[in-house]
Symmetry: C2
Subunit: 105 residues, 2 copies
């Protein structure tokens, strides 16, 4: 789904990653972390897709909300597993969404 975000400005975290081989409980944890994100204060929506590269963009109403999410205990445990087991490499980009527009049939 395309995230139903409010009027700009708001914030986006672009998380791009390359996975290691095997699931290693990634799918299960990933689902839990998505559920958890949806319940965080300031969360606006998320979009995700993976082919050769995985891209997850989460949207937030403030930089403070992003920081709080980064420091969430369960999320931190998942971040550690990401570095130790699931990802060959990743990049996190914190962005201010300055303008947006869309189209729908």
């Amino acid at each position: 789904m395309i995230a139903n975000t409010p009027n700009t400005p708001y914030y986006a975290v672009i998380f791009t990653s390359l996975r290691t081989e095997g699931d290693n409980n990634y799918s299960n944890t990933s689902e839990k972390i998505f559920d958890l994100a949806h319940r965080q204060k300031g969360f606006l929506g998320v979009e995700t897709a993976r082919e050769s590269v995985g891209i997850t963009v989460s949207y937030w109403n403030s930089l403070e909300a992003i920081k709080n999410w980064k420091c969430n205990a369960e999320h931190k445990a998942a971040q550690k597993k990401g570095r130790d087991i699931w990802y060959k490499s990743f990049k996190v980009r914190i962005c201010k969404v300055e303008r947006d527009y869309g189209f729908e049939i």
Copy 2:
């Protein structure tokens, strides 16, 4: 591949889309447009993946470079096909990347 972007700040265009049924010459045009983007002034890199939703994030060194790319004639023709044929819906988000960090094994 994860885009090898320079130090912040730089700009990102997050393009999220839902496709209509059938290829309708999308794959062929899409490849051409990617090649063309790589040759645009101010282009820094691109990441793309599609599952139920398609996400393409392109990175640029200025808002002017993004504007010039939007107005490129071949790209404009593709944008029109996007609205007329290829997409059920899409959203374009213009962002300033304020901070980034990464990890590599």
